[in-house]
């Protein structure tokens, strides 16, 4: 009996950790591309909110979740172009540009939501992605409910981890991205279009962040709420750094954070004698500790946050 309760609890915890890690992992994957090319996009939070809104709006008006995802990706890319323009073309300070983008996204998503749906007594809702029941796999004891009882977006995200790692490490484009992030002048002299590669990377980051936002609004929840991203965009930036710009490590890092978040809720619920304020801070404390431990090893791309100009030395 005792072991039964423990198993059920563990299954619930691990499944929860996976669910909570996805909205961090998705934007983190895109941010790996962005940062590898030398751009720090702190505007993820704002892009995610816009993606969450677009995903919800797209689904609500077309009644098709895939159109919702498409709308989220397009919005994410469009919104990230602002970041691209500011940091690449105008060569503005990236920290400030990113922060501004977050503030813009927060306000704009709230405003547009009100414009689209007006003031309603209860929020508009959609039918979100249902968990997939995979024959055989979902029935495996323990592993089934932990790994094979999620919605399609979770599996897509895992697939994207592999794709991202492959693109970055094994393709010419990945090499160009890394070259641009390490030494844009050398890359330029080899005929790589630095501006283009950086724009593409920022757009990839925007697409992933849009997806991450949409996961919250139409993948996990079924409505849009202003500020629903709730800091996950910033956690994603932290995840990228402590994953040292590697998609697989980002998966681990996101799981760690998602796990801490899922764990603290369960600890609160069973009533451990720790004030809940401390438990709520647990994922953030963990983030600090992990960041401290990996910071010695972190090797930033050499051209990190440095705008490139051919005419300047």
């Amino acid at each position: 009996m005792q072991t039964d309760i423990l198993t059920v609890g563990l299954v619930s915890l691990l499944a929860g950790a996976i669910r909570m890690s996805i909205p961090i992992l998705l934007p983190a994957l895109g941010e790996i591309f962005t940062q590898r090319s030398g751009i720090l996009n702190l505007g993820l939070e704002g892009i995610m909110l816009m993606g969450a809104l677009a995903g919800f709006g797209g689904t609500f008006f077309t009644q098709n979740l895939w159109f919702g995802l498409l709308a989220a990706v397009i919005t994410g890319i469009t919104f990230s172009l602002i970041m691209g323009f500011l940091s690449i073309t105008v060569k503005a300070n990236q920290v400030i540009a990113g922060t501004a983008l977050t503030i813009l996204g927060t306000g704009l998503s709230t405003f547009l939501f009100r414009e689209m749906f007006g003031i309603q007594k209860l929020p508009p809702q959609i039918e979100s992605f249902a968990p997939l029941q995979i024959p055989f796999l979902s029935d495996i004891p323990f592993l089934g409910p932990v790994l094979f009882n999620h919605n399609i977006m979770v599996y897509l995200t895992l697939l994207l981890v592999v794709c991202s790692a492959f693109v970055l490490e094994k393709t010419p484009f990945g090499l160009q991205v890394r070259a641009v992030g390490e030494n844009p002048r050398a890359a330029d002299s080899k005929g790589i279009n630095v501006t283009l590669v950086r724009y593409l990377c920022v757009m990839i980051g925007g697409a992933f962040a849009g997806l991450g936002g949409a996961f919250l609004s139409i993948g996990f929840m079924n409505t849009f709420l202003d500020g629903m991203v709730a800091g996950r965009g910033f956690i994603a930036v932290a995840v990228v750094i402590f994953a040292r710009w590697n998609p697989y490590r980002a998966l681990g890092a996101a799981l760690l954070f998602g796990g801490a978040s899922a764990l603290q809720m369960r600890l609160q619920a069973i009533g451990v004698p720790i004030p809940h304020q401390f438990l709520l801070a647990l994922p953030y404390v963990l983030t600090i500790l992990v960041l401290l431990s990996v910071s010695k090893k972190a090797e930033f791309p050499a051209a990190y946050t440095l705008p490139y100009s051919r005419s300047e030395r």
């Binding site: 619930s12 702190l42 209860l122 409505t223 709420l225 202003d226 899922a262 619920a269 953030y284 983030t287």
Partner: protein, 346 residues
Amino acid sequence: MKKKFSLLCIVMLVISLLVTGCGGSSAPASKSTDASKDSGVNPLKVALILPGKVDDVSWNQAMYEGMKSLEKDYAGKIKVTYSENVYEVANIEPALRDFATQGFDLIMGHGFQFQEPIIKVAAEFPNTKFALGTGYKTAANTCLYDVQLEDGGYLMGTLAGLMTKTNKLGVVGGADAVEIYRGHEAFKFAAKKVNPSIQIQELYTGDWRDAAKAKEGAMSMYDAGADVIWHSGDGIGLGAVDAAKEKKKFVLGNVADQNVLVPDYVLSGIIYNWTPVIKQMIDDILNNNFTNRTDKKYMLTVANGGVTVAPFHGLDSQVPAEVKAKLEAVKKDFIDNKIEMPKFAK
């Protein structure tokens, strides 16, 4: 590089804490409505300052709708101006002073964070009346209003305690604010009273907007065997409702009748109706009864019809008659002032 790294980490952590801490965006929007059409007398000018948005499905919206409905009844007698998203303490004092200099008669601050600014500004404008939503400080020209959420929590605890089959309940809240805390404690108290062997899981998400977190929390409670969960409100409540839908278990709502969201699993809930309370407050002002009132508190209670239980809708047949009878008995006891529960205070 290391220096840059640590700087970056600090900046990010601070920002993420800020963002999670205060989900509200900072774009105050004002709307004024014209309730006074043809009456010759000057209507009472009321300013309602809300910390959130009027469509937050919760705290702010309930007040907004209560005020809207009173505006209709009191057309010509009052004129209300709404101001949304005044969340940060730094913005509150200027907003209060602004409305006071514009000659508003009653200025309402709908949240605990308005307490200190109201006390301060009220002293500077002795002829203006102020109302503070939740808190404990008053002055001659100010009053308090609040939800007696322990009434609601008590009713929900009774219902949940009688309806559970697994003897496990859950309660999910946003931030650990005073009235939410009282509601939760009363919920647990009442559930244990009707069902002494009950186990209750409790969870605060620490904010009002992170519905995904609340959903995950509620799912973990259902996984651990709970079969009825009450959520105490705001955006996060939608997460609990969505968890009920996914896990096919009962959930009890708060603030508004949320049955339409998931008709099969939203069993009931608490509905706030602010109209009787603000009506009383405005009547007192119109009759010159405001400043000389000894009891400075206007409470939303079961007795005055401010806190009601949502109907069971399609789930009516699943609620045994004796549960309904018990719930009615508790409601009647509230009206007759016969409910005994400890004072829940922190």
